[in-house]
């Protein structure tokens, strides 16, 4: 039996390593980005970098505050538009649409989250920007245009995952509710939606992650002007756009400052994830002992 216990032990340990691997990679990523970005904080000063209003690498100004606001505004605006629409559509797909339609539509929607963001960028540039310009004035490049495109890019992510969590609600709950004479809408509102809430919150988090992390599409239509936008029709520059825009040409402190931008972006995402996990924990349905 000795050989058996040894091989069991070895297998378990190797599996532990694969499990911790994802954490090791994150530490590696953080380490490398910190290494490249830290000089910027050191020479330029962390708070001057974080809260500086002016970003002009050629004369040594590296303030990213306007871009932090830009990124957050664009992400929030796109979520405000995307979340209601995608949840209604997810409920339509999960609860209302007949099986045949669902079986065709679900893969199509999932495919849309597989479309490269460059295509969304060009779609925005050629179709959306002129429309926004003629109807709302300005140059057409604006936070609103970027948010519109991000909304469309985020819809598939939220719809697919919310729909799965809605359908994962045990069928018994549906039967029990119908058995008491509840209508389809009452069953969704009082039983299915609350039970699927943790999954739905996860989908919104992932959607938010995708929106704040979007680069190539944002560059083409946000206008990339370093400013805190007055109205939603002002052009704006997001953190990701800043990195992608200037990475090709940056040298010296400018290069480090771009990695500093990546660190700031990373911090914002971690904070958003922690908040979301907390909410998810609070809403988690305490499925205690019992039978179900």
């Amino acid at each position: 039996m000795e050989k058996n216990r040894l091989s069991e032990f070895l297998i378990e340990k190797s599996l532990v390593i694969t499990a911790i691997f994802s954490i090791i990679i994150i530490l590696l990523i953080v380490l490398f980005i910190l290494m490249e970005g830290f000089p910027a904080f050191e020479d330029y000063g962390f708070f001057r970098f974080l809260f500086g209003m002016n970003w002009a690498p050629s004369d040594g100004e590296f303030g990213v505050f306007a871009m932090i606001i830009g990124s957050i505004y664009v992400t929030l605006l796109s979520l405000i538009m995307a979340v209601p629409l995608s949840l209604l559509c997810a409920i339509f797909m999960a609860e209302v649409a007949p099986n045949s339609i669902r079986r065709i539509l679900k893969p199509v929607i999932e495919t849309l989250s597989g479309i490269p963001s460059v295509v969304y960028g060009f779609f925005g540039l050629i179709v959306l920007v002129p429309i926004i310009r003629t109807n709302f004035g300005g140059t057409g490049f604006s936070m609103f245009t970027a948010a519109l495109i991000l909304t469309v890019m985020v819809l598939p992510t939220i719809i697919t995952i919310s729909q799965d969590s809605l359908r994962a609600v045990p069928h018994e709950y549906r039967e029990a509710s119908f058995g008491l004479g509840a209508t389809n809408w009452q069953t969704i509102r009082h039983v299915i939606f609350p039970a699927a809430l943790p999954g739905i919150i996860t989908s919104i988090i992932l959607g938010m992650g995708r929106a704040i992390g979007e680069t190539l599409a944002a560059i083409m239509i946000a206008g990339n002007v370093v400013q805190i936008p007055g109205s939603i029709f002002d052009p704006v520059r997001t953190l990701t756009a800043n990195i992608a825009l200037e990475m090709g040409y940056a040298t010296g402190l400018h290069y480090n400052a771009l990695f500093g931008t990546a660190i700031v972006l990373f911090l914002i995402i971690i904070i958003l994830l922690l908040i979301a996990n907390y909410i998810q924990h609070k809403y988690k349905v305490d499925v205690g002992g019992g039978y179900l």
């Binding site: 069991e8 499990a19 994150i26 199509v108 989250s113 979007e214 990701t240 995402i269």
Partner: protein
């Protein structure tokens, strides 16, 4: 048991009709918007796509000729991602579900996977350059690009495998333990075979997630036009080719053609994974 009268102004029946209408309308609007984009790509792209476009090599940096090299690069890079990420993702899922239970490592790994899934692809691009290309010295090659994509595919493969393995009924495991099997024998002989369809779906979803990445591989894969002979040569996967054709104004038509080919590949992969999920769920639930 005296009956109580309903005090609600709108009766449940009418609110049901109203809400049903709202769901249907919003469903149709959303789907129309999404299909509009898919249609936009296919209409703009398909005229360019024919057998010659797919199997010919690009001429004068992609302005004409085909995209065969790009398809080969994409296959190389996605396969590397799958081969590297699958054992890691499945191994982590097996450990979490079978060994760790709700311990500290589980929470940490789950949070790790969630963070990896929400890191913007541009940050992956920087990391790919700084770590794989420079630090490890793999240089600009399909391998560096593939490894970056492996990290991006890892969370998806891990999360889907974890759900699949934990949905395997514990009665399977008890049956195997009952016959004196060790933990690993149970996992290897009973749990994994039952979870294979779910895991395969997870791998396909992971690959679909990374096949359309341009920003992540931009600085790692070298974007060279010539046919890659081995994984140590640089190459230019489809999304990167699409990005360069579009932004350098080389040829917008070919850019849309490349996008159309990519969309078709993703469409096929997604339909396959959905079919697998349906078949797998019907088998497990016996619905």
């Amino acid at each position: 048991m005296r009956g109580l009268k309903s005090q609600k102004i709108i009766s449940p029946k009418t609110s049901q009709k109203i809400m049903n209408a709202i769901f249907i309308i919003s469903g149709i609007i959303t789907i129309l918007i999404l299909v509009l984009i898919l249609g936009y790509i296919l209409i703009m792209g398909l005229p360019v796509v024919n057998l010659e476009f797919i199997f010919a090599n690009p001429i004068d940096s992609g302005a004409s000729g085909g995209i065969f090299q790009m398809i080969v690069s994409s296959i190389y890079v996605t396969l590397i991602a799958g081969i590297v990420a699958t054992p890691l993702g499945v191994g982590a899922a097996v450990y979490l579900v079978e060994y760790a239970g709700e311990g500290k490592i589980t929470k940490l790994t789950r949070f790790g996977a969630e963070t990896l899934a929400s890191i913007p692809s541009i940050v992956y691009g920087l990391f790919g350059l700084a770590f794989f290309v420079v630090a490890i010295g793999l240089g600009w090659s399909l391998l560096s690009g593939g490894l970056v994509l492996a990290i991006m595919a890892l969370p998806t493969i891990f999360q889907v495998s974890e759900v699949t393995i934990s949905s395997i009924p514990s009665s399977y495991r008890e049956g195997s333990y009952g016959l004196g099997a060790t933990k690993w024998q149970t996992i290897y002989r009973v749990v994994l075979p039952a979870a294979i369809p779910g895991i395969v779906t997870g791998v396909i979803l992971g690959m679909t997630r990374v096949i359309s990445e341009a920003a992540a591989v931009m600085f790692a894969v070298g974007s060279s036009l010539s046919m890659p002979l081995s994984i140590f040569d640089p190459g230019r996967p489809l999304p990167l080719h699409l990005y360069i054709l579009a932004t350098e104004g080389i040829s917008l038509e070919n850019a849309y053609g490349t996008a159309a080919v990519l969309v078709i590949i993703v469409l096929v992969l997604t339909f396959v994974s959905n079919y697998l999920v349906d078949k797998y769920q019907r088998k497990i639930m016996g619905r």
